[in-house]
């Protein structure tokens, strides 16, 4: 037995030595690095092509405009903008005293070049390429001329980062261009390294940045492939904050994070919400009385308690949450099983065979096909229970995300659960019209409403930039939702962003949360 035991201990010794050598690494010296944890993964080092990198690169290549904390559009790279009365000519005035990280000054040519480049070679900016007819540059002003009127161009231009012309003009296919090396940026930091294997993106301080600076000379954004690991990393203190596009820190994890005692919570109401969508092209969903009955059969308070653990509130019929400007007070959703049954009864849905489930005109029990993505399983269970108590049969079908996109576009469902994002609420004519307008397709939209009144309302909004008129239209849109209930909001919620107590100066806006220039120039470390 001696020889094999000998082999066994050499192997064990080997493993132990490796382990001990590695553990001696310990935690590196904690110099001024701001560490942000996220679960949005960068899939490829393509500066423009990768979706998640596109979210991060606003830090190094600021777009023209940005949104302040209460949702108003303010200048970022541009100081301000003017619009021609017929909304076809937009002129942006570029702030002076801004320099690329390689020292060259930022000019209007860079802006003109970037927007034209987006139009020609980036898939999601196809509308620029189709409608942009002429671009004029004089001094620090850029004028874009379109062949059709745009009212929300300023909003669109909060997402297109401006790139240095002298570098990107030589790249013939920018969408497919990949490099992990440093990119030239004009923001407070430039993108130094995209490292897929280490799972992080590193920003270094921009040497020629003239504005305010924060205490940190590097910002590291590390992505995790699962929320449990991210939450544990945050709790262990090696990460300073947690950010995820259009969603909050997992509500269930907040208590254990508070227990560690060294984290504060930034709580901001968000316009992202979860709602129940109807397939209006099918019986009985097209009947408003049926939708009314469904809306009063849902126990909103319990949904708020379970899905948001109290960090949310019962929504109003007007669908649009108070976080959006142009919000008006509408009747809140109220849960009353009796009225639900009475409305069903008066609308002609009888339960003749007494099995607790109402029958359609053809005498068969009504069983709605509730199609959901797997992240909505819990809400679907509750909805099924509530509707069945009110007499409406529900069959839950879980499908994988892509299958849901395809089935939703083919309207192969009765009711579904999905979410809105802050950006989605502003899309199209704003105030969630992008989700309902049947003329507009896209992954997250339902495109179920083709009611003339609603479509005309959207076109009116799209054709004006006059703020008072827009306020009026906003009121009409919300009253339309309250009246027709194309979608039932389940709850409004607040987005929670935890941050290390020792760090102050966080600033959060509805669109990108803490990922904005105010944060990265104002963050102070009191350690």
């Amino acid at each position: 037995m001696r020889k094999s035991q000998h082999k066994m201990c050499t192997l064990l010794f080997l493993i132990l030595s490796i382990v001990s050598v590695c553990c001696s690494m310990g935690v590196m010296a904690d110099d001024a690095i701001l560490r942000i944890a996220t679960t949005n993964e960068v899939k490829s080092p393509a500066f423009i092509g990768d979706y998640t990198l596109g979210l991060f690169n606003h830090l190094s290549n600021p777009p023209l405009m940005q949104m302040d904390e209460n949702g108003k559009l303010i200048g970022l790279l541009a100081d301000h903008y003017e619009v021609s009365p017929d909304n076809t000519e937009w002129t942006f005035v570029i702030k002076d005293n801004q320099f690329w990280s390689d020292g060259t000054p930022v000019t209007a040519d860079d802006v003109a070049f970037s927007i034209q480049m987006y139009g020609t070679s980036i898939p999601n900016a196809g509308w620029i390429g189709e409608t942009l007819t002429d671009t004029q540059v004089d001094g620090n002003k850029v004028t874009f001329k379109f062949n059709k009127p745009y009212t929300n161009l300023a909003l669109e231009f909060t997402s297109y980062s401006i790139l240095p012309k002298h570098i990107w003009e030589s790249i013939e296919n920018p969408n497919e261009f990949t490099s992990t090396g440093p990119y030239v940026g004009a923001g407070p930091y430039y993108l130094d390294n995209v490292d897929l294997n280490a799972g992080k993106v590193i920003f270094k301080r921009n040497p020629s940045w003239k504005g305010k600076i924060s205490d940190y000379d590097t910002v590291e954004i590390s992505w995790f492939k699962n929320e449990d690991a991210a939450a544990k990393a945050l709790e262990s203190g090696i990460m300073d904050t947690y950010w995820k596009y259009a969603s909050s820190y997992p509500y269930a994890a907040i208590d254990s994070l508070r227990k560690t005692g060294n984290f504060e919570m930034l709580e901001k109401p968000t316009s992202g919400l979860t709602f129940l969508g109807f397939n209006l092209k099918r019986e009985p969903m097209s009947d408003p009385a049926f939708r009314e009955a469904v809306s009063s059969a849902i126990n909103y308070q319990e949904l708020v308690d379970i899905s948001t653990l109290g960090y949310g509130l019962v929504p109003n019929r007007g669908f649009v949450p108070p976080a959006m400007d142009g919000y008006i007070q509408t009747k809140p959703m109220e849960y009353n099983l009796e009225t639900a049954k009475k409305t069903l009864d008066s609308a002609g849905y009888k339960d003749s065979d007494g099995n607790g489930i109402i029958e359609a005109a053809d005498g068969k029990d009504i069983t709605l096909d509730l199609l959901i993505r797997n992240s909505y399983a819990r809400e679907a269970e509750l909805i099924k229970e509530y509707l069945e108590k009110a007499g409406i049969g529900v069959e839950v079908r879980t499908v994988e995300d892509n299958t849901w996109f395809e089935m939703k576009d083919k309207l192969d469902y009765d009711i579904t659960l999905t979410r809105t994002t802050p950006w989605g609420m502003l899309m199209h004519a704003g105030w969630a019209t992008g989700y309902f307008d049947s003329r507009r397709t896209g992954q997250g939209v339902l495109h179920t409403v083709d009611d003339e009144v609603f479509l005309k309302l959207c076109d009116d909004i799209l054709s004006t930039t006059d703020q008072t008129l827009l306020k009026e239209y906003a009121k009409e849109v919300q009253e339309y939702y309250a009246e027709n209930l194309p979608g039932i909001p389940l709850y409004w919620k607040n987005d929670i962003t935890p941050y290390n107590k020792k760090i102050t100066g966080w600033y959060s806006n509805p669109l990108y949360g803490i990922m904005n220039e105010f944060t990265f120039t104002g963050v102070k470390s009191s350690a």
Partner: protein, 279 residues
């Protein structure tokens, strides 16, 4: 040395540790009559994320359901999926393994060719396909899990069959004119059984685990309460971040104990009396 012959399996049953039979009995009972032993009915909700206390022995989950009740009601589906998928995959695997190990030549090539191809088809896309076109009921899940886990059993059984194919007792029963089918039943399976037993146990375990990973990847029907789904729900809804051991460890322990019990009962057939040298 003829002995009064009590049926051999009954005689051996005495030797399996009785607690294995009791545990399996409890699980089967819980699967058939969950109502009788569960403290609450599965659709009553209490306060969410409750710690284990006197009226909730295992606390409550994120929706407020009592975890012990969920555990009991989940037994049925987990047992059915685990055992049936395990048996299905074992039967297919053994029959193809023995057939290709026993009959050499083109039969072996054909069978092993089919096994290679099915081995390579990745499970996740097929499950997505099935979840999209068919409504994933429990039987479809069993068939999918059964059809996609027999390849390794087939290859192991084939290797073992080829080993003993030419040994003395097989040849002797062949020249006695036994049909190859009865040779397989009486000669080959008893010898293969000890190798097959760990494989059968691994298949049951992997059937339960793949059901768990399907619910983790969100491809199984949310209405089917099973141990695997409980663990997946615990991960999705903060059970792990809040370190609620009492939420996801009990289903994992139940899975282990079931597989242990089934294996232990299977082991009684593992003959450990040495080959009688004295006859």
């Amino acid at each position: 040395m003829t002995v009064i012959n009590i049926p051999s399996w009954l005689k051996k049953m005495r030797y399996t540790p009785t607690f294995c039979i009791i545990i399996l009995g409890i699980f089967v009972y819980a699967a058939i009559f969950p109502k009788t032993i569960s403290p609450y009915s599965p659709d009553i909700r209490f306060s969410p994320y409750g710690e284990p206390d006197e009226n909730h022995i295992l606390g409550t989950d994120d929706m407020g359901y009592d975890i012990l009740t969920l555990l009991i009601y989940a037994t049925r589906i987990s047992l059915i999926i685990g055992v049936f998928a395990g048996i299905l995959s074992l039967c297919i695997g053994t029959s193809i393994g023995i057939a290709s190990g026993f009959h050499q030549g083109w039969v072996d090539d054909l069978m092993m060719g089919v096994t290679d191809i099915i081995l390579i088809i990745p499970k996740i896309p097929v499950t997505i396909l099935i979840a999209a076109y068919l409504h994933p009921s429990i039987w479809i899940l069993i068939i999918v899990l059964g059809l996609f886990s027999w390849e390794t059993t087939a290859r192991v059984v084939r290797a073992k069959t080829m080993q003993i194919r030419n040994s003395g007792f097989v040849l002797s029963s062949r020249c006695l004119g036994f049909s190859s089918f009865s040779i397989i039943i009486h000669d080959i399976i008893p010898v293969i059984y000890p190798v097959l037993l760990p494989k059968f146990m691994l298949t049951i375990a992997s059937a339960m685990i793949s059901e768990a990973s399907l619910s983790f990847l969100g491809l199984s029907d949310p209405m089917m309460e099973s141990w695997g789904k409980m663990i997946a729900d615990a991960f999705d809804h903060g059970g792990f971040i809040r370190e609620m051991w009492w939420w996801f460890l009990p289903p994992a322990i139940c899975m282990c104990v079931t597989v242990l019990a089934i294996t232990r009962i299977g082991m009684i057939y593992e003959s450990n009396e040495p080959e009688m040298v004295f006859e």
